[in-house]
Symmetry: C2
């Protein structure tokens, strides 16, 4: 039996944490939401920032502003370092905050499979800074190619390698193909953009391996139409500043390039490990917390783990995927179970059940694949479905309208107005 | 007599350089535009980015995209280090580029009057990175205040000092007053935002000293209505991480604060000095190049200096102000004179004459002062005039429409959606 909770602490303002906080409106608990950043990020559209179609503010909503009217929520900017499960306190660098119920929704980071030096050479796409860094690298490569007199070097600047054929890799590769062959077409004088090579390398035998095979085939076809070379069965074995080494079944491949993007792997936030040290909860190989059917951890009904950080294996044979819908539904579930405890009706509460609404990935301009269970969409219809579902999910109404207008404009003009080379490194003289 | 020019090199893609390049369309010359950045920046709206109302991409247009249809222009991303005037070449780090005519439009930077360490403590507002840095500092100060238990420290986090009462300082101070007293009003739980202090310190006896006195008085009144404390006759004598020292006629003032913004002084780009070393052209005290009545420099009719980098004193007793209109008109003039040389009709060409269209500055939400010669506007009417003139001046039509929508939304909701704490420093844990 659990005491009536009064103070709920939520760590992480992503989809899981934010929806948990919102679902606790109109209850008697006080909620403290702690995040390292001051905004909620709509990660599914991050690749659009990386490729210059949208601005960071289009896909990020200040947490304070999203929650300003919900008076039972306090937002704190800070980083939780560890958890004192016995004393029921989260530990920040300069203070500790007590809780009655803790919801850990700290998400995942990139994972380079033990090859940490690769991180500097092949950035992944998880944060706003990742996105503007990728944008800078891609645009800078075309600028350097334009000024390059050595033809071999020029080819290296016009070669882009995307590692990993999951949704992020597919979306990045598609957008790169579109930029090279359409958006920038008239912008350069010395280089021929049709010589741009975009390579998508995937280790398994098809891209989008978690989707139905027919959608993988459609996505491959759409990418090829955008000038992307798709190589499956290809494992990257080394990444260096000016080349990538990859292994296929029968050969070793050496690819000269200055621009490598990482869409291959993620691992759990270090908070998973901290939680395991504090409570002995088991972790899976990716560092995710293995949770109970009610999303709590063994022996600690007051601690929930939700979203990408949670490994929930009670519904199907494999863990639920790390997508926004799982996090949202888990955040709502945790809030409902807490509310039931307030009313002393938690005993009959059913276990968490994920209602799969389907999966989607875009493939360049105006094409997408959508797996909605019995319905499988692709091409323009898939893209319209993708557009509709993503737009209605944007947290802020303002963003929704502005993003729609910006997109409509980008769509009809094939323009990407936000292609700015910015950041500390961009201000460094390049020549 | 000058030879018929075939290749015009323009250094700098600000207002002067961009309008010169555009005005050379439909001529026989080839134009090379060199800039350190890949975009043209609409600097008059930079303070809107610094205060979270607009995104960087709203006020920046990729130079390649602006000039993509003008086939006689090549855009190069690079930094000109020096000028070989005898050999008629500009020198970049890795190559030299020859010219027949050179237009130097490299602009100005911040100036801390010999107190270089102040730059780290009190950032100015000239680049996109400056704007996002200021945005980060301001938003972060409110976040720290929310988490601060020591009341004295909290006051320091809620005190903002703006140094310099010119247009930039007035616009920043007004926007800060608005943010504290309106935008963020419902966002915090532990702090009372009405305790926020915004101080605007100006050395002379009135703010906006280059405007007519009645507009200075109106602007001061509008700022005070937004909760800004305006102190004239106040010279800053020291800036330290946690305080500012200022001197008035009869006392020395010590102001505790964590957030200091610089709107006080600018100096010429180092390219002015490089040009002077190459050609012996005289510079003024701010390092600006003193130009001839036709904007060229003595002994070098093939070198023009325009925009903020030029000191043009042939029209009135003092140099023309460093505003966009001067740069635009000078860029057009230089292009016309070059075109006249192509037609061998340059001998009768009149000297440059600045057509003063007026000056404007905004003071917080929906209020501005405009000095249009005989017509002087202030308050809401001034703001509408300001809005209209700035919107129609935005280089890209897309930006114009999107910025207008974003502004209309901000205006009616007093919201500032782009208030993101981003950048390398933002990703560093703060607690």
């Amino acid at each position: 039996m659990v005491d009536i909770p009064q103070h709920v602490v939520i760590v992480g303002g992503g989809f899981g944490g934010l929806y948990a906080a919102r679902s606790l409106a109109h209850t008697s608990v006080h909620v403290t939401l702690i995040d390292r950043r001051n905004f909620h990020l709509f990660q599914p559209l991050l690749y659009q920032v990386a490729t210059g179609a949208l601005s960071p503010a289009n896909i990020a909503a200040p947490l304070r502003s999203v929650l300003s009217r919900q008076k039972n929520v306090t937002v704190l900017l800070g980083e939780v370092k560890s958890i004192n499960a016995r004393g029921r306190r989260v530990v920040l660098a300069d203070e500790e905050i007590g809780y009655d119920v803790l919801i850990v929704a700290a998400g995942v980071r990139h994972h380079y499979f033990g090859n940490d030096p690769w991180e500097q050479l092949a950035p992944g796409l998880k944060t706003i800074e990742d996105a503007t860094d990728i944008r800078r690298r891609v645009l800078f490569a075309f600028e350097r190619a334009e000024r390059e007199h050595n033809p071999d070097e020029r080819v290296k600047w016009l070669t882009f390698v995307v590692v990993g054929g999951g949704p992020t890799g597919v979306e990045l590769a598609g957008a790169l193909g579109e930029i090279a062959h359409y958006t920038l077409r008239n912008d350069f004088r010395n280089i021929d953009l049709m010589q741009t090579r975009v390579l998508l390398l995937e280790g398994t035998d098809r891209i989008l391996p978690t989707y139905p095979p027919e959608l993988s085939t459609k996505a491959k076809h759409d990418l090829e139409r955008l000038g992307v070379t798709v190589q499956t069965g290809t494992i990257v074995t080394d990444i260096q500043p000016e080349y990538v080494t990859a292994k296929t079944a029968d050969q070793v491949q050496h690819i000269d390039t200055h621009t490598i993007l990482w869409g291959a792997g993620v691992q759990a936030s270090p908070l998973g490990k901290a939680l395991s040290e504090a409570t002995s909860v088991p972790l899976d190989r990716a560092g995710r917390v293995i949770v109970e059917p009610d999303l709590t951890i063994p022996g600690h009904p007051e601690i929930f783990v939700i979203g990408d950080l949670a490994n929930y294996s009670h519904q199907t044979s494999k863990p639920l995927p790390g997508v926004a819908q799982v996090a949202i539904q888990q955040g709502r579930y945790a809030a409902k179970l807490i509310t039931a405890r307030l009313k002393d009706s938690a005993a009959q509460f059913p276990p968490f059940h994920y209602n799969d609404l389907g999966n989607m990935a875009t493939v360049g301009r105006a094409s997408a694949v959508a797996d909605l269970g019995r319905i499988k969409l692709s091409g323009f219809i898939g893209w319209l479905a993708w557009l509709f579902i993503h737009l209605i999910s944007l947290v802020h109404h303002e963003n929704r309208v502005l993003v729609m207008i910006q997109w409509a404009w980008s769509y009809f003009t094939r323009n990407r107005a936000a292609r700015l080379i910015t950041g500390a490194a961009a201000d460094r003289p390049i020549s």
